[in-house]
Subunit: 372 residues, 2 copies
């Protein structure tokens, strides 16, 4: 290649990244300033406030981690888990499995609660797991399973953990900005997300929030956090409330300009209005897909409006359809992940990309490529 890269203008309707708003791309390209510049500190403060709004939390420790959502997941575990701890991990898709990996790498013992990929986490099974393992100090589950398009009942699951004296880690990578997320009301203790889903920001950062109980556990650890980069006691020194910021690492300045702009757009629209819009466009898409004879993979009660799992009809060549959508229509939809590869498509309507134009574009392209 060895020449400047000029990407085409795709329409991103996969599981993320989603289409980034021109306002956000504009912010991204503004002049870089120093990560300890007084003006940058004011930006950091405003990002914290906007993240608190988006997460519906008053948590002081609410920050964007300088790495993608999978690092956010790891940050939640390495800070809250100590070697030998028992952690109840719910798995109903790919990302619950990744949680298990993280727990094991912390030297802790995962107790798995399995549900079928495509179903929500079963609260009854979580109750049983706590009965069988009263020593468990943490519950972890995925609110919006990006691999299956399924929402789980976060309020109920958090309540079970509280009743059993455990803290809760909640994966909200695909949730934030798309469907309701009530960190404080639910009593979630460590919550991480991504920027490239319903915030419609560029990928690379992980918004996170830790409850006062989580901070207390971190401060009372007897073993050091195994990761230096993800150690919240160190990260707090830079993002913390006091005016003197301690250098920890060089913040990704321009990515934070973009995150700030995307959060501002969310605040301008309003959270509830954004949720309504996601729901409305989802319903239009489902109507259109069913009119094409396609079948949704998830029960309506648990469907994510921002990520639509669709069964691939028998006899249809999965890869060829996605290749034609991309090449002929500049339209990206998602393949199935893990055990759902080849069986489902994942059609995202996330953030800026959740709009009637995209719904129509996707339906038209699918009709054409499927010959229906």
């Amino acid at each position: 290649m060895s020449q400047s890269f000029h990407p085409p203008q795709r329409t991103l309707m996969g599981p993320g990244p989603s289409d980034v708003s021109p306002r956000v791309l504009g912010a991204l390209g503004r002049p870089t300033i120093g990560h300890l510049d007084p003006l940058f500190i004011t930006l950091m403060d405003d990002i914290k406030r906007l993240l608190q709004y988006a997460f519906k939390t008053d948590n002081e420790l609410t920050i964007p981690l300088s790495a993608p959502g999978s690092a956010g997941m790891e940050a939640a575990f390495v800070n809250l888990v100590s070697p030998g701890d028992t952690v109840i991990v719910c798995q109903n898709g790919v990302f619950g499995g990744r949680m298990k990996e993280n727990v094991e790498r912390c030297g802790a013992i995962p107790v798995m609660v399995h549900d079928r990929w495509g179903d929500p986490v079963d609260p009854g099974k979580v109750e049983s797991a706590f009965k069988a393992h009263p020593e468990a100090t943490l519950l972890a589950f995925v609110h919006s399973e990006t691999s299956t398009g399924v929402r789980s009942d976060a309020a109920t699951l958090c309540g079970i953990a509280k009743n059993n004296g455990a803290l809760v880690v909640v994966d909200t990578v695909t949730t934030l900005g798309g469907i309701d997320l009530q960190v404080d009301n639910w009593g979630a203790d460590a919550v991480y997300s991504g920027t490239q889903k319903c915030l419609s920001c560029v990928p690379g950062l992980s918004p996170m929030t830790f409850s006062p109980s989580a901070v207390e556990r971190i401060q009372n650890r007897t073993s050091r956090v195994q990761s230096w980069f993800l150690d919240m006691q160190l990260v707090m020194g830079y993002w913390g409330g006091n005016s003197k910021r301690a250098y920890h690492h060089t913040a990704p300045v321009n990515a934070l300009y973009a995150l700030h702009e995307s959060l501002l757009i969310l605040e301008e629209e309003g959270l509830e209005a954004s949720f309504c819009r996601h729901r409305e466009n989802h319903l239009q898409l489902v109507t259109g897909l069913e009119a094409l004879g396609l079948e949704m993979a998830v029960d309506p009660t648990w469907r994510l409006p921002q990520l639509n799992a669709v069964c691939i009809p028998a006899g249809v060549d999965d890869a060829e359809v996605r290749r034609r959508l991309l090449q002929e229509f500049n339209l990206e939809i998602g393949a199935g992940l893990g055990e759902l590869a080849g069986k489902q498509w994942r059609i995202g309507l996330m953030g800026h990309a959740s709009n009637p134009v995209n719904v129509q574009r996707c339906l038209t392209a699918l009709r054409c490529v499927l010959g229906r």
Copy 2:
């Protein structure tokens, strides 16, 4: 705040981030495409090739890590170190201390080789450390100490490690693109850098390269890498040579556009020409600083041309000078770090920012603010 953030146009002459070229900012703001898009895969391949050029290496595992340089440091250690290993760590500034932290958090035993902050690493002491600890499996040192402005003799240090059968981790965060770096000729095994120094790209990524010996050690590990996000066996699945890329995490798409453009600029100029330019502007700056009666902190043999440590004259108010440079001249220079806080300034001439205009601007501003 709650309105779009419009940063001023600073001149960044601190320890990084350095001024980002308009070409790089332009690339950064281009439309986001999917991280598994076939066009993105061609970009990844070109980034790998350009990084091999910049690192002077044929290493197959040469990638940009999706997180800042401090995560690059951690990736080097968590992949190459197993619990109980002995690691010889050289410290002649802040970042050697951070290496020690990383080694300890891997459950390994650091053997420290200390040199005065402001001096290079003493190869004789490293020889002695290997004699005293023949069981050491790894040597780690910082090539360009960002906290002191000092270069160490990387070729000699790598040679000592080889002679003792150990692998070598080299921190080249401030080196890459600014002064000579010969990964293959030196025999360095795990080398990490940052994007926000002499590449003049935005902060947030860590270019890395691993030698075949390093890859072999990673593949022969008996204990799992403690970090999921930084586990090179998993990262290789996405960045690896085979055509089928496995999803690991969502790559920071736009940041990689920017990195590609910055590497392209480096290739267009040519490595040796870039080194000459850094040296030339450094000499001009030193001449000017000495004409102002200021004293350089580092012996000429070991001075980094890209990061100039200057003694703060007696009676001068460090913070007030830097505040005035920033507010009156939009010029950022660096404070002293760690034990050098209040004693030295660090004036960067990195990448795009290493040019005669900046040399002049800095000298003029300092003359004015210092009243000389």
